[in-house]
């Protein structure tokens, strides 16, 4: 196997280096990728089309919003697939070969829990900030969602999983993840029903008291919230399942 792997690796490496001589110079301003009408349009007209200062957010949530919808769906799929793979049904018990040390039932450490108690509000506040401020600065629904999810994971790490599950059970997490997608796709569908194409947020200006551009701006915030819902809950659900081999009890 090692020899096969080495041969494959060397072959691929040779191909990649062969192509490297054809690359445009590092950071060249007129390379086809940088000078193409598409990326020029993104840089020049994002402000006009959507009024969002952060071009990445605008491209992510509006121009290529369909991609991002499926990106959210991918996260959702990961959550569902992991639960489906790890959830135990009647017959499949652990292999006798596993001699896992009986679950360490350690008392939560005083210093750790108190520090975490102080940290979590800050983390969650920051998550909201990242989510809401994604139009103007780096960030957005996905990053905010991951940070939010991390705060739940932190609870599970500092105390134990049941304490975190009290706040957000796995079933509820998957439900909320579904709600996140419903928000995203729902905004898309709603703008379709208003007469545009799927995800054509500009049509929302028929129901919102704003211009077409600002309708895009606000709808983007809406879909980012949807993304954040899905990501937060799925990240936590994945952690909850992975850390306990699907039993959802005990700590790490």
């Amino acid at each position: 196997m090692k020899k096969v792997a080495l041969a494959v690796t060397l072959f691929i490496g040779a191909l990649l280096l062969y192509a490297a001589k054809d690359f445009s110079v590092w950071g060249h301003l007129q390379s086809p990728a940088s000078a193409s009408p598409v990326s020029k349009h993104f840089i020049a007209d994002t402000g006009v089309d959507t009024e969002v200062p952060n071009m990445v957010t605008a491209v992510l949530a509006d121009y290529r919003g369909f991609d991002t919808m499926f990106e959210t769906v991918v996260i959702f799929i990961a959550g569902i697939a992991i639960i489906a793979i790890l959830r135990r049904t009647g017959a499949d018990a652990d292999s006798p070969a596993i001699q896992r040390e009986s679950d360490v039932v350690a008392e939560p450490d005083l210093i750790v829990t108190n520090t975490v108690r102080l940290l979590i509000p800050v983390i969650q506040l920051f998550a909201f900030y990242v989510l809401a401020h994604g139009h103007v600065s780096p960030g957005g629904g996905f990053q905010g969602g991951v940070i939010m999810g991390a705060s739940f994971i932190l609870v599970a790490l500092a105390w134990d999983l049941p304490k975190a599950l009290d706040r957000l059970s796995v079933d509820r997490a998957i439900m909320l993840a579904g709600v996140g997608i419903l928000i995203y796709a729902g905004i898309g569908l709603f703008s379709m029903l208003l007469g545009g194409e799927f995800l054509d947020y500009a049509e929302l200006s028929h129901v919102l008291p704003v211009s077409r551009e600002m309708a895009r701006y606000h709808a983007m915030l809406g879909v980012e919230i949807g993304v954040a819902f899905t990501v937060t809950t799925v990240m936590f659900a994945i952690y909850a399942n992975l850390s306990t081999r699907g039993r959802l009890e005990g700590g790490l």
Binding site: L17, F23, A33, I43, G47, E71, I238
Partner: protein, 195 residues
């Protein structure tokens, strides 16, 4: 395009990022194929994917460009709104004059009705290309999703076979296959019918 000795120089100095991306990609690929431990394979997989992301981000780099967020003077909601004169409701903007007299404040400026304008070609050169960044956000997400599912599979395999070494898992599977008896689903014993 480049001389004989220029190639190495070019590869190592001007395209060092490209070279490192190739190296990381190969490290990841090798680990995915050759490593025996399932978790090592997955770490290799993540390295492999991040290498590709590094490549994409490298495409988006522009010499001397800033990050793809509008500077204050281009910001659709920023203070540029103050130095654009609204000639009429159709938002005609004299771009050539804007640089010459950047601070022509207009008194009837309404902050709710400012006009974001399209950037000139010259100005677009100042921002990095946002498209590869967007693509790679998606790719990172796909990467973590794949990693999560693969880790769940690893745990499932461990639960059933008690090991995460590939050869041991294969051996366990072969032993299981050898032990499987094909059940004769027909209740009747055919031989007995014969006489």
């Amino acid at each position: 395009m480049f001389g004989e000795e220029g190639l190495l120089n070019e590869l190592l100095v001007e395209r060092f990022n490209y070279c490192v991306y190739v190296v990381l990609l190969l490290i990841g690929l090798y680990a995915m194929i050759a490593k025996n431990n399932l978790i090592k394979k997955l770490i290799g997989m993540s390295i492999f994917q991040t290498a590709i992301i590094l490549f994409y981000v490298s495409i988006g780099v522009k010499e001397g460009a800033t990050i793809p967020i509008y500077l204050a003077e281009h910001d659709p909601h920023g203070h540029h709104a103050e130095h654009i004169v609204h000639l009429d409701e159709a938002n005609t903007i004299d771009v050539s004059e804007e640089n010459a007299t950047p601070l022509r404040l207009s008194h009837e400026q309404d902050h709710g009705h400012h006009a974001p304008r399209s950037l000139t070609d010259e100005e677009t050169l100042g921002y990095a290309n946002p498209l590869p960044h967007v693509l790679m956000l998606t790719a990172i997400v796909v990467g973590v999703a794949t990693l999560g599912v693969a880790l769940a599979l690893t745990q499932r395999i461990y639960r059933a076979y008690g090991t995460i070494e590939e050869d041991a898992v294969l051996a366990a599977i072969q032993a299981e296959d050898a032990a499987t008896v094909i059940p004769d689903v027909l209740a009747t014993k055919p031989k007995a019918k014969k006489g």
